[in-house]
């Protein structure tokens, strides 16, 4: 490792190679603080070429590397390796080109999601995928995780808005993956691969035209069932809103305690529905929506951007707000088909009662993406374990209903053990073929996404116990 550090120092300015143990600890986890590991060394390259050189060095030394953007990920996708190099892109934050004629922007990976929108908002454009952390999360991280957000119901995810990526492959080559190119859709495979297929060093995103009208409505229902029925009725009416978000009573209580969002008192559920598009269309959809939500005991319509922000404030701060009503919590991220929402929410209620663990529900109702907040007191013996059980059982519920173990946070290190519950061994082996094509040596963010990847070049089949090559010390199982 010392030789590697010396080699890294010859590549990068002194300040850009961190080995001081105290400073290294800044990087020991991402947004999921539950998993921690101190990296052996942290580098902060300025250019794609430097990233490529660092990766080539890692190859020369057979040392694993992990890329990290702003570190807002919630699945431990950027958890460092104690025996590896952490490549942080925070210095690469230039917006290289804004090309409104072609509705695109070319940016470096460290640029924050919101910065792209801020750069073009005055001219009537924006970048559509909007994770709740958009003020701080980096676009490189968004690409790695295929991030979503409240508005992906209508507008899709990161992968639908990325036109091209320059990447450093796991063996250190700079390659451009462009939607325009003929051939395999490697760009599609790369986005959402959680740093296991290389590092994005330049990203071309699609910019969207700001809609003519945005109408944001808050509907307060007495029960979560009524809220759920309204969601189904909206979709059933053929309306595709920009967003449909739901919060239950406990989540509302938390938001109220933290940011005084002044949601209607006594609500069992609130629904935030945002309609956008041409004024004439939004007007008619709003009329339909009002009728559908006639069972709501209060309906608020934002009259201006300030009121819209006020409506969103409670929702956007909900995760952090839960800290006000619970000493500790797990943010779960699972997906169910929208029509299963009522039965899954009821089952979560039962789990909650059974284990004596409170669960607050805040979620993207339009696409069935649940974010149950599993609350517990870490001072209470056994509570953390019970919360883990409930949290895992919720994922099982999602799988049972034909859903997914993650809608937007990624698998990372946190959920890799759940992958075999959702996918068969053959499915996972097939995904490994992609990994082996990009990263035959398994150096790029090893240990993430997949529980036990087979070695590249090894024929698939039933395997039990430690691999003989690993046992003999000839290969390492990442």
């Amino acid at each position: 490792m010392d030789t590697l550090v010396a080699a890294l120092r010859s590549l990068l300015p002194y300040d850009s190679v961190i080995t001081d143990p105290v400073r290294l600890r800044t990087y020991e986890c991402d947004g999921l603080t539950y998993h921690r590991a101190t990296p052996a060394v942290v580098v902060l390259p300025d250019t794609a070429e430097q990233v490529a050189r660092v990766v080539r060095l890692c190859n020369d030394f057979s040392v694993p590397f992990v890329a990290r953007g702003s570190g807002t990920g919630l699945s431990g996708g950027a958890l460092p390796r104690e025996d590896g190099v952490l490549i942080v892109t925070s210095k690469m934050r230039a917006i290289l080109e804004i090309d409104l004629d072609n509705r695109r922007a070319v940016v470096e990976p460290g640029v924050t999601n919101l910065a792209i929108t801020e750069a073009v908002r005055d001219r009537g454009y924006y970048y559509a995928p909007d994770p709740s952390s958009q003020q701080v999360c980096s676009i490189g991280g968004n690409v790695a995780e295929n991030s979503g957000g409240a508005h992906c119901l209508k507008y899709g995810f990161t992968v639908n808005h990325v036109e091209a990526c320059e990447i450093v492959t796991p063996d250190g080559d700079l390659v451009t993956l462009d939607r325009m190119d003929p051939g395999y859709d490697l760009l599609g495979a790369f986005v959402g691969s959680e740093g296991t297929l290389g590092i994005a060093t330049k990203i071309t995103v699609r910019l969207s035209r700001a809609p003519q009208t945005v109408t944001t409505v808050l509907a307060a229902f007495e029960s979560i069932e009524q809220g759920g029925q309204a969601v189904s009725a909206i979709i059933g009416a053929g309306i595709v809103p920009a967003a449909i978000e739901m919060m239950d009573a406990l989540a509302i209580e938390a938001a109220e305690a933290a940011v005084a969002c002044r949601y209607p008192e006594g609500a069992g559920a609130v629904l935030i529905v945002e309609l956008d598009g041409p004024a004439a269309e939004v007007e008619r959809q709003f009329a339909q929506l009002t009728e559908i939500c006639s069972g709501a005991f209060e309906l608020r319509v934002a009259a201006d951007p300030a009121e819209r922000a006020a409506i969103w404030k409670g929702r956007k701060s909900a995760f952090a707000a839960v800290g006000r009503i619970s000493p500790a919590y797990i943010v779960q991220d699972g997906v169910v088909p929208r029509t299963s929402l009522p039965s899954v929410l009821a089952a979560i209620d039962r789990l909650s009662a059974e284990h004596g663990i409170r669960v607050a529900n805040v979620f993207h109702a339009g696409d069935g993406n649940l974010h149950p907040l599993v609350l517990f007191d870490d001072a209470e013996p056994g509570a953390g374990e019970r919360a883990e059980v409930v949290s895992g059982a919720i994922l099982d519920l999602c799988i049972e209903h034909g859903g997914s173990i993650t809608g937007e946070h990624g698998v990372g290190v946190d959920k890799s053990r759940y992958m075999p519950r959702m996918f068969s061994e053959a499915d996972l082996d097939t995904m490994q073929l992609v990994r082996c094509a990009f990263d035959p040596r398994g150096l790029s963010n090893p240990g993430k996404v997949f529980p036990t990847p087979r070695l590249c070049g090894e024929a698939p089949g039933v395997r039990k116990g430690v691999h003989p090559l690993v046992e003999s010390g000839k290969a390492e199982q990442f």
Binding site: R103, V175, G188, A280, G368, G407, T430
Partner: protein, 391 residues
């Protein structure tokens, strides 16, 4: 032993002139797997086929022992209308799918600009896209789950039946547009959209020079057109632009867009050529960023090819109305390529009966693509030679 019906191939089963020995007609995913396993044991090369509407696209296979005809896998497995999701076998025709979905007031917003009979699997394998790609994206954007069978018979799934899902690698993206060279697409799950309440078209005749600014204005318009197609049968003359508006207020939005175009007729039906291809013996696809529109039009003008396609999403098709000889086509393709690649675009020859044509032009990332092929199909038995770089 295979479970699947296998018959001897006839002259009609040839793939771009290469005649297979057998035709296999599996009815289930397991039968596809059994056929592929048997082929693997005997080192037989396989070419999957759907409706056969695009089987003459791409170069001929280096070898073809078995034509895997997916026509019998024609079931819609699940239409979860409340979830706006459908799962179908690969051999379901796009027409049959559309009819079934329309019964519930929904649609797969993926236009297929080809003859009837085209299937879900073939549409995905060739990544074809039609007019409304501007608004809804292409096949890869609407596909949320896939079941594939690898050349060794492994059945693998990725994605699922929920729209929002980031668990694992997206094999669906990789197989979309892979021309049957990685394995067989057996089932696909798509996100759906409600059928629009209303549709209107604006049709206008424009001079070549008028199109680029009009297209730019349409793309930026908050009246949100779903598509804008251009038909230019004779590049010596004017072109026809048709703009589609969908939704609850289509009429008033169409009026606003007609104002942008500056002229045109408003109709409730598309022009007869909308989203169709008349003849694809010779077919060239040109993709380009919006600012490349003028370069594309200029480049096509002298070639004798006609143009039809999207002015908004930068994907047009060039067809040959009369016979075009090999040297003339080669010259036309390289002339267009020269202008368009400079503007950030790409030119692919989808169909041509000539061996010497450079079909794909520049492909960045080719070494990585070769490695993907090597991993999925080390025996080079899936549609060998039919894709970029001889993959």
């Amino acid at each position: 032993m295979l479970g699947a019906t296998v018959r001897e191939a006839g002259a009609d089963d040839a793939v771009s002139g290469v005649k297979p020995r057998w035709v296999a007609l599996p009815e289930t995913v397991e039968e596809v797997a059994a056929v592929l396993r048997a082929c693997a044991e005997r080192d037989l090369a396989v070419v999957p086929a759907g409706g056969g509407t695009k089987l003459h696209w791409a170069p001929p296979p280096e070898r073809c022992d078995v034509l895997l005809d997916m026509c019998c896998m024609n079931e819609i497995l699940e239409h979860a209308a409340g979830d706006l999701v459908v799962r179908a076998q690969a051999g379901v025709t796009m027409d049959a799918l559309a009819t079934a979905l329309a019964d519930k007031g929904q649609e797969l917003a993926l236009d297929v600009p080809f003859a009837e009979g085209t299937t879900v699997g073939g549409t995905l394998a060739t990544a074809t896209a039609g007019p409304r790609a501007f608004r809804y994206g292409t096949a890869r954007d609407l596909l949320i789950g896939i079941t594939v069978v690898l050349p060794d018979g492994t059945i693998a799934r990725s994605g699922g039946k929920v729209v929002k899902n980031v668990a694992g690698y997206d094999l669906g993206k990789l197989f979309t547009g892979s021309y049957g060279t990685l394995g067989v697409i057996a089932e696909a799950t798509f996100r759906l959209h409600p059928l629009p309440a209303d549709r209107r078209w604006i049709t206008a005749e424009l001079d070549r020079d008028e199109l680029p600014p009009v297209a730019a204005a349409l793309a930026a318009s908050q009246a949100e057109p779903s598509a804008a197609e251009v038909d230019w049968p004779d590049p010596a003359g004017p072109l026809t632009l048709a703009v589609l508006v969908e939704g609850t207020a289509a009429e008033s939005r169409a009026e606003a867009l007609r104002g942008l175009v500056g002229k045109g007729a408003l109709t409730g039906e598309p022009p007869p050529w909308w989203g169709l291809i008349s003849n694809d013996d010779v077919l060239v696809e040109v993709r380009f960023p919006a600012t490349g529109t003028r370069a594309v039009l200029d480049a096509v003008a002298g070639t004798g090819l006609s143009l039809r396609g999207s002015a908004l999403s930068g994907r047009v098709l060039l067809e040959s109305w009369g016979a075009i000889g090999e040297p003339a086509l080669a010259a036309a393709v390289s002339a267009v390529r020269e202008r368009v690649e400079g503007a950030g675009g790409r030119v692919s020859v989808l169909a041509a009966p000539y061996a010497s044509i450079d079909r794909w032009g520049q492909v960045s990332g080719l070494p990585l693509m070769r490695r993907v092929k090597e991993q999925f199909d080390p025996g080079r038995r899936m549609s060998p030679g039919r894709f970029v770089g001889g993959i």
